[in-house]
């Protein structure tokens, strides 16, 4: 605001600024005070995740000295991709304020479809991938159609899908129950020993440099445009701070992963898709419409947005990501099996999206929450695995973490309401 008054001399009729308004100070101190005010107002952003991650890492490191190792990071980075992709699709659905319970079943079915096509029917592996993704999109669109056009609650539609598609998967897999996949096509890149640039030490650093450079370039060019247009812009100090934080994270991750085998290609695909989805949600009118429908359906309708079209397309996106996630999960074992539709995957994906900060109530969230949430969940899984804890304990702890995330979401929403931010 203070920048604006300097660039444009206020005309005589310009309204006086309301004295009750909180003026944001310029520079870095303004950034910090704004952050503190946001958190106090219940807009926690990524703060619970970061705190949670530090606590989790500390607890497991104290319990097991081997936890804090590059191999653990490699494990987390690789195994978070499959369910993380399910979570990306769920973020879109959660932004509408709806839920998709079928993603786990659809992912299992997609793996089975891919296996039958590529192995049993000898279809070209890349064509099989395409057909599998289209299957996922069609299933999602069907859910969306029944929900948006017929008016059945999404919860029930996708619950029916959860059962039905699991049945279709079992039928497709037949009596053997498992089909081993060939190391071809997309599966080659999703399998556990495929690394960016062949695991070369430069691979991780190339990615980190790309990330930091594109953030700097994007922020600075936007700052220049905004400055030219005379609207408030981010101070350079804030941009630098953000870039430095990203650089610490990116180069740190690259260094740690390089200590092991390198950056898994599956992770690179996941990150690329996250960037694309983030762009779609924040920079296109389609993404804006998703947020609008999640915020106020009636307002969206009056603004000329076709609410059914948005709903159907979002469920199709969710189905596509479920199919992709299914391929990634199958890639970890190089087989499509009955375990592909593990209902645990569904709960993990929902937990990841919510833990990462996407609200269950619609209209608030980012695709990055899929990444952050999966970091938390896989950190826990890796720790429990190393401590040799059995499945029962794992379920209990993951359930507890999901509950904690939902409680944080509800509480922060309440605080936001009382401080007028929701």
């Amino acid at each position: 605001m203070s920048n604006d008054t300097k660039t444009t001399p206020p005309p005589a009729s310009s309204p006086a600024v309301d004295p009750r308004l909180l003026q944001r100070e310029s520079g870095l101190s303004g950034y910090v005070s704004e952050f503190v005010r946001k958190v106090r107002g219940g807009d926690l952003g990524s703060l619970p995740v970061v705190v949670g991650l530090i606590v989790i890492w500390a607890v497991f490191s104290l319990n097991d000295g081997k936890y804090f190792a590059a191999s653990t990071a490699e494990f987390i980075a690789y195994y978070m991709v499959g369910i993380g992709l399910l979570a990306v699709g769920l973020v879109f659905v959660l932004l509408l304020g709806e839920i998709d319970l079928s993603v786990g079943a659809v992912s299992g079915l997609a793996a089975a479809v891919y296996a039958v096509l590529s192995v049993n029917e000898h279809v070209d592996p890349w064509l099989s991938v395409l057909l599998t993704l289209l299957t996922g999109a069609a299933i999602g669109a069907l859910h969306g159609f029944i929900f948006a056009k017929i008016g059945v609650p999404a919860f029930v539609v996708t619950l029916a899908g959860f059962l039905a598609w699991q049945g279709v998967m079992l039928w497709l897999l037949g009596s053997t129950g498992t089909i081993n996949l060939d190391d071809k096509g997309l599966n080659h890149f999703l399998s556990g020993n495929s690394y960016f640039l062949g695991g070369d030490i430069s691979g991780g650093y190339v990615l980190a440099v790309l990330a930091v450079a594109s953030l700097l370039f994007g922020s600075l060019s936007e700052q220049a445009r905004r400055r030219k247009a005379g609207v408030p812009f981010r101070p350079t100090s804030e941009i630098v701070l953000r870039a430095v934080l990203l650089a610490i994270g990116a180069f740190g991750a690259a260094y740690v992963l390089n200590q092991a085998s390198g950056v898994p290609n599956a992770l690179v695909i996941f990150l690329a898709l996250l960037i694309v989805c983030d762009f779609v949600l924040r920079r296109t009118s389609y993404g804006r419409k998703i947020f609008a429908v999640g915020g106020n359906i009636e307002a969206s309708r009056r603004a000329g947005i076709s609410v059914p079209a948005i709903r159907i397309s979002v469920y199709a996106i969710s189905g596509t990501f479920a199919a992709l996630g299914g391929l990634a999960i199958a890639g970890t074992t190089n087989a499509a099996g009955q375990a592909g539709a593990d209902p645990n995957n569904l709960m993990m994906a929902i937990a990841a999206a919510v833990i990462g900060g996407t609200s269950l109530f619609g209209g608030r969230g980012r695709v990055w929450s899929a990444l952050l949430g999966m970091l938390v969940i896989e950190s826990i899984n890796a720790g429990l695995y190393m401590l040799g804890l059995t499945l029962d304990i794992q379920y209990m702890i993951t359930g507890g973490v999901l509950l904690a995330a939902v409680v944080v979401d509800s509480l922060s929403r309440r605080t936001q309401k009382s401080s007028g931010r929701a």
Binding site: G230, F291, G304, G363
Partner: protein
Amino acid sequence: MTSAPVLALRGVSKRFGAVQALTDVELEVHAGEVVALVGDNGAGKSTLVKTIAGVHPIDDGQIEWEGRPVQINRPQDAQHLGVATVYQDLALCDNLDVVNNLFLGRELKRRGTLDEVAMEQRARELLDTLSIRIPSVRIPIASLSGGQRQVVAIARSLIGEPKVVILDEPTAALGVEQTAQVLDLVERLRERGLGVILISHNMADVRAVADTVAVLRLGRNNGTFPVQQTTQETIIAAITGATENAVTRRAARTAEAAK
């Protein structure tokens, strides 16, 4: 008011099943004129507004736009003509900021992506010319007061450059200062040469900003008054039907007998 009205209703009727909601209603709105539409509950104000906005197509009569008869069958028809309606429930997205709400459904684009800078610039210009005071154009609607939301909703209706703006009870839930802000804004709309249809129950508001008062009673016209030369009692009498009493009935009967 010599020029042709921007919007004119001629003998408009609307039925819902057994209910005759509007009967032969006439209404004229000129450019730069604020027409207050008043009437008791159930008088047909909302129905009339919805026929203009295209929510309920009319059964009988004619709607004229700048002198030409037009058909308004869908909300889009009304929007294309240049009628913007601000409903009582405002219909803003709480989770989006002011700029995004202003441009919802007609975002400005640059190379296929949202042009946030241009939208923010235009939003500031629009809010400045309307002297609207809000903390920042980049805060979510949720953080705004009721009056601020109302002015944002009205400002949003202006993005499409309409010629007629319909305001449905814009001051119903507002405090003194906020009501004053909204009334100031209505006057600024008039200064910009827009025709304004203002629905209100509040006679003080109506007298403060309206040029003409059109009274509806039981779905029919019950008088159109220039605000300056009319007392509040006359208007209220027209609203409540208090003009219909023993004296007027006798007068009507004698007039009939004289025929």
